[in-house]
Symmetry: C3
């Protein structure tokens, strides 16, 4: 069995933002030497998400609008979590979007459908944060 791990670091200069990390994950799969297996990609922070969807520019503001309806950033006093912090909305938004993805590796590559792309979704940025890539297989 082969196992592999790597961190992807981010520092986004605004509260929310999306980064396509598909190629970085594909690169990790190549580096691992795994031909058949599974790759886990998860946010290491509880105010960020890793998820899979289309890389289509109109869709990105659609997420923001939908998530603001579910878990508005303001007023901060809306959320009990916001005693000393102002990021309760980020914890709730990330719960809806999901923490992690699991992807199949087949023949040394991500075994993906035609439009699948992996994103890191920063929901409380302006600081260094990271995602974990863990691969097992052979």
């Amino acid at each position: 069995m082969i196992t592999y791990r790597n961190d992807l670091w981010f520092n986004i200069n605004k509260r929310r933002g999306l980064i396509n990390i598909t190629e970085a994950v594909q690169q990790a799969v190549r580096e691992s030497g795994v031909k058949e297996g599974l790759v886990l990609v998860n946010a290491m922070h509880i105010t960020a998400s890793v998820f899979i969807n289309d890389d289509e520019s109109g869709l990105h503001p659609d997420y923001d609008v939908g998530l603001e309806k579910l878990a508005p950033e303001r007023p901060y006093s809306l959320h009990k979590h916001n005693g000393y912090e102002d990021n309760a909305d980020a914890n709730l938004k990330r719960t809806v979007m999901g923490r992690e993805v699991m992807c199949a590796i087949t023949d040394g590559k991500l075994d993906f459908g035609p439009r699948e792309q992996i994103f890191y979704y920063e929901l409380d940025g302006k600081r260094e944060k990271r995602a974990l890539i863990k691969i097992i297989g052979e």
Copy 2:
């Protein structure tokens, strides 16, 4: 280590629909010969979901009603994604429902609780689409 992959194909004649794929996944587990391991089942399209819940007929319209409140299909102009397409709601609904499930395999079978059933949830149908089954174990 044993690895196994298979595609499940669907062609649902309406926009939205649910298919119970538990037996198809169980069949893949049997074919794989894996006695102890993990199985990933994921939608290969970004407008469909694979998730686990009860196979109870009242629950299915409850999903539809809940998801329509969160991410309505119409008016199509509500979503920026709908420039050349009309399926932004499907991308958003699938994000809430989830892309994939991971299940344990124990003693050659899905290691499931009493009511767990795996579903493929088509959210933008009327065409051929598929889900991936990937198994690793021994």
Copy 3:
């Protein structure tokens, strides 16, 4: 390859409640002897969730408030699932929160970010229920 399974049992004396199970999962990782691998933790019931977020007391009622807006418990007649049951809201809430988490094991420990904690979220309690821990690795 090493594989390991264990059940965690719960019996919460109210409809909804959160239990931090991080140490129990860490204990299972130690017992398994796996140094590098993956651990799956999933609810075995379709009215409960396993998810990862901060262990911060203000956040817990924030989940309850947010989920009640999405899928209210009452009136029970709101949901078609509630023919003979009253827990449709629990099925819907769990779908939003998620059934399972996958975590990396590195150097014999959960490979976690600084605030990550694993929770069992009971959404229809007052009875015995359980979560599954399944580990594969070496």
